[in-house]
């Protein structure tokens, strides 16, 4: 690479780094300014004492875990079955898993509310709807992650070997297939978790406690606590991504969830 070219490369990198880090640095500094004239973690203390924060954060963690459980329970057997016996459904399934990209979250929740606010499906107030909605939002990432994992193991041979040794479907799925795609599942799970933790639209419009709506409320009410909460939110996203990277080839983190 000629020398002139390298200068340009550094130029773009520095620009990128600045753009990326300045808002984060500013937020962090801002979060330390709660006490006048001195840098302190007062905002964090106040935040952790705020029952709204604890509630919002804990509920989001809960929604994240539940979404992952539901996702794994539905998507792993489906992906496995499509690979093994139901290849004719593959295009249909893949199309469905890509639909959440085409339907923006705000439109999606619009549909959910309108559909489930009337009998016979009056479940708009139930947390189950929220979990279902989150599962749909995380579907492209979760399903594709699982599918990638399955692609890298010879599903047919493993199944046939297990069957010849007398295993039933349950055993095959949980004791043979699942452990072998552990990395892929975890990758998808952490990405889904990050999505749910940062998700605003569904929680807000389905009126459920969650971290992002709380943060939005906090911005209206307080000056420095939102900064602390933002820092925590970022650290969490970073941690999830870091863990995914630790697993090797994580999925390229494309735009996820409701933003």
């Amino acid at each position: 690479m000629k020398r002139g070219g390298r200068v340009w490369s550094w130029f773009w990198m520095v620009l990128g780094i600045l753009y990326f880090f300045l808002p984060l640095v500013a937020t962090f500094i801002f979060s330390l300014r709660a006490k006048k004239g001195v840098l302190s973690f007062l905002a964090y203390q106040q935040l952790f004492n705020d029952s709204g924060f604890i509630k919002g954060f804990s509920y989001s963690v809960l929604w994240g875990i539940l979404t992952n459980i539901v996702g794994i329970l539905i998507f792993v057997p489906t992906a496995y079955w499509v690979r093994l016996r139901a290849q004719q459904f593959r295009t249909a399934v893949e199309f469905i898993t890509l639909l959440p990209f085409v339907i923006p979250a705000i439109v999606f929740v619009f549909g959910l509310v309108r559909t489930f606010s009337h009998p016979p499906f009056l479940i708009v107030d139930s947390p189950a709807l929220l979990i279902a909605g989150y599962t749909v939002l995380s579907m492209p990432y979760m399903y594709r992650s699982i599918d990638t994992g399955l692609r890298s193991i010879d599903v047919r041979t493993l199944t046939e070997a297990a069957q010849s040794l007398g295993a039933g479907w349950g055993t095959i799925l949980f004791r043979i297939i699942l452990p072998n795609i552990r990395v892929a599942i975890l990758s998808g799970a952490f990405l889904s978790f990050a999505i749910v933790m940062g998700e605003y639209i569904l929680a807000q419009y389905l009126a459920k406690p969650a971290f992002a709506p709380f943060l939005a409320y906090l911005i209206q009410q307080k000056a420095y606590e939102p900064a602390a909460a933002t820092v925590i939110s970022f650290a969490l996203t970073w941690a999830c991504m870091g863990i995914i990277n630790l697993f090797g080839r994580g999925q390229e983190g494309q735009i996820a969830g409701g933003h």
Partner: protein, 300 residues
């Protein structure tokens, strides 16, 4: 494209076992049931209701007609398109240069991995926290504003405003350019070194190489990804809502307002608005997919 051995062996073999057909269906039923209930049915509700008159429930195109006659809504579409165009072009170009610098720019290899990690995080760091981060940065009492003022430059005296269209564009760029970096990187990887050497060998300068070989090869990917960025921006809601409180007129903001309380005064119009959004997104995704397929053919 090479297929894995397992894929070849998973191909449907001639195993006609009539009683197994019901098993096949059973295996995928939970998924389809779930998708139908919570994705397809609600979505089709929107589609169907957008063609229904609000009171009589008869089939009509009136909702769309009203949409096109409503200056407020058309303006919302226009602003949404504007911000999407700007951030997809800006984010696309910036992201491309950034990705190229990290991958082929002669920088130490750890810069590439670091960049990919940062971009993975940044492209997910959208919505409310991102909006606040920029508030912390550039609001009148923001950190950067403070620093600039301390060296004698007040951006607000020069016409800068955060809670405006341009402020929002700046915030959108934060997740647009990382997305570009992530999606365009495989294409840049696919740009084989031998092409540059072959071009040089035949007498081409670096500029000629870019003009005749590299850019034409990359163009479908770049355009396709920019279209993806366009769709991404078009569908964004939480960031705009958190930053501007809904004061900027975007289609997503309008839909949110409609959801909270029928601000449009006409439920059918709301559905039409929502369907219009899906159509735009569908066109964007289709465009992206087509261009990706074309570039894959070349970058095999």
């Amino acid at each position: 494209m090479t297929t894995l051995v397992s894929e070849k062996r998973d191909a449907p073999k001639a195993r006609p076992a009539p009683h197994k057909i019901s098993w096949v269906w059973l295996g995928v039923t939970p998924f389809f049931l779930f998708a139908f209930m919570f994705l397809l049915y609600p979505s089709s509700t929107i589609a169907v209701k957008s063609f229904q008159d609000t009171t009589t429930h008869l089939f009509t195109l009136n909702n769309f007609v009203h949409l096109l006659q409503n200056p407020n809504l058309l303006n919302a579409y226009w602003i949404s398109i504007k911000i999407s165009l700007i951030t997809s072009l800006g984010g696309g170009i910036f992201g491309f240069f950034l990705a190229y610098s990290a991958i082929r720019g002669g920088l130490p290899p750890f810069m590439r991995t670091s960049l990919m990690t940062f971009c993975g995080v940044a492209s997910n760091f959208a919505g409310v926290p991102l909006a606040f981060a920029f508030i912390a940065l550039l609001s009148p009492s923001g950190v950067l504003t403070g620093w600039l003022r301390s060296v004698g430059y007040n951006p607000y005296f020069h016409g800068f405003q955060l809670y405006t269209f341009w402020g929002l564009s700046m915030v959108y760029m934060y997740f647009q350019f990382p997305l570009m970096v992530l999606v365009i990187s495989p294409a840049i990887d696919g740009l084989r070194r031998e092409w540059h050497e072959a071009a040089e060998n035949l007498g081409a300068s670096t500029f000629q190489y870019w003009r005749y070989v590299a850019l034409p090869i990359l163009l479908p990917s770049i355009l396709g990804t920019m279209i993806l960025l366009f769709g991404n921006s078009f569908g964004a809601f939480a960031t705009a809502q958190a930053l501007t409180g809904g004061s900027i007129n975007l289609v997503t903001i309008m839909i949110g307002a409609q959801l909270r309380g029928d601000v449009l005064g006409d439920a059918g119009l709301g559905y039409a608005l929502a369907l219009g959004m899906v159509v735009v997104m569908a066109v964007a995704i289709a465009g992206y997919t087509l261009l990706q397929r074309k570039s894959e053919r070349w970058l095999r």
